[in-house]
Amino acid sequence: MGHPSDVLFLDDDDDLRATFADLVRTIFARECHGLASHRDLIALGERALRCGVAILDINLGPEAPNGLESYIWLRKHGFEGRIVFLTGHAASHPLVVEARRLGDAEVVSKPVSLDRLTTMLDGQPYEEHASQ
């Protein structure tokens, strides 16, 4: 069962996904659902919607639905938690610009520091000077 303290992590890179889930469990002592695709997110269904934080990669691979579509799906299905886009793309990239326009979602560039990750998972607003 999903729980508000659970973290949803959507990224198509297997190693990063496994590492992130491992880190969340080891350092933050929270459950992390690592998902590789938009389809996995839909398959997780209700459990995904109960998570407190969703961290979404914007680019989920060529010809695959992107993180913005996952964002729309989550909000459409009543996800009330915090959504953070994690991206390796340039800030001027069209998908990143579109993600910034969504308003209630944050856009964070990879690689993200542990400090910033902590603020993301704790639900605190991130201050630019904190770390990068």
């Binding site: 990063l16 880190l23 060529p62 069209p94 690689p111 520091s113």
Partner: protein, 275 residues
């Protein structure tokens, strides 16, 4: 062999087309003179035929080299073509001048000067071509006996200078326009190359972001589980930090990219490793 730059190739092709058209006009146009000068006593047929044949040969040469056109070949062919035309006109103009009836002098030279302005491969060749047509008129006129000179219409042969002026103006304008078009092409080519380089750098950066993130998070996990490895992990952190700095340095290329629809579902591996 190093391939020619795009603007050089374009220049060669442009010169080649102009010289080819000049030769075609010679090959087709000069025999028309035979039709026009029918009935003129002592008018030899061989000068226009020789000029036309030379033009046809030069057309063949140009077509044979169409896959490897060079500006030098175009210039050489253009000048040879002009030379054979001038030889033919020198001979026929002498016969026209002495023929009974009214002759409008040096019409072919006037057209030739204007054609040279439009078709010459470059400025220098154009000036030589125009100078050839104009110079031949003046020299030919000088060889006419005074009685023959007096038979020419008013203002002849000096009207050729008006044609020369127009031809030179047209040549200058054309050369300037072509140079401008080439400059635009060069800037565009450079812009495309810069964009490609910027895309490659950013793809390289995007490609390394995820593995870097994995390494950094893995280091945190190891540090939490095995605190005694901290000195080792400090070195890993410092190395990652250096890679981050490289990462930030590549960010300057972001502003140089005009994103397209193809970038909406990018696959950085294609740009970085090619498959």
């Amino acid at each position: 062999m190093i391939p020619a730059a795009p603007h050089e190739t374009q220049r060669s092709q442009y010169s080649w087309r102009g010289a080819l058209l000049a030769c075609c006009l010679n090959a087709i146009g000069m025999p028309m003179d035979l039709v026009l000068n029918r009935g003129i006593p002592d008018m030899p047929a061989w000068p226009p035929l020789l000029s036309s044949a030379a033009g046809a040969v030069l057309v063949i040469v140009m077509l044979a080299r169409r896959r490897h056109p060079t500006a030098r070949l175009a210039t050489t062919v253009f000048l040879l073509n002009t030379l054979v035309i001038l030889i033919a006109l020198w001979i026929t103009s002498g016969v026209y001048a002495t023929a009974p009836g009214r002759w409008i002098p040096f019409q072919a030279n006037k057209i030739g000067a204007l054609a040279a302005a439009v078709l010459a491969p470059d400025l220098a060749t154009g000036i030589v071509g125009i100078g050839g047509f104009v110079g031949m008129v003046l020299l030919r006129y000088a060889t006419f006996p005074p009685a023959l000179q007096r038979r020419l219409p008013i203002a002849e042969p000096w009207v050729i200078f008006i044609y020369a002026l127009f031809a030179l103006a047209m040549l200058g304008y054309r050369v300037h326009s072509v140079a401008l078009a080439r400059r635009v092409l060069r800037i565009r080519t450079e812009s495309i190359a810069t964009q490609r380089l910027a895309r490659t750098f950013l793809a390289l950066r995007d490609f390394t972001n995820t593995p870097l993130q994995t390494i950094e998070l893995s280091a945190h996990i190891i540090r939490a589980r095995c605190p005694e490895l901290s000195p080792v992990l400090d070195r890993v952190d410092r190395s990652i930090d250096r890679l981050y700095r490289l990462n930030h340095a590549l960010a300057v290329y972001e502003s140089r990219i005009d994103w397209t629809d193809d970038d909406l579902t990018p696959d950085p591996t294609v740009l970085v490793v090619g498959h």
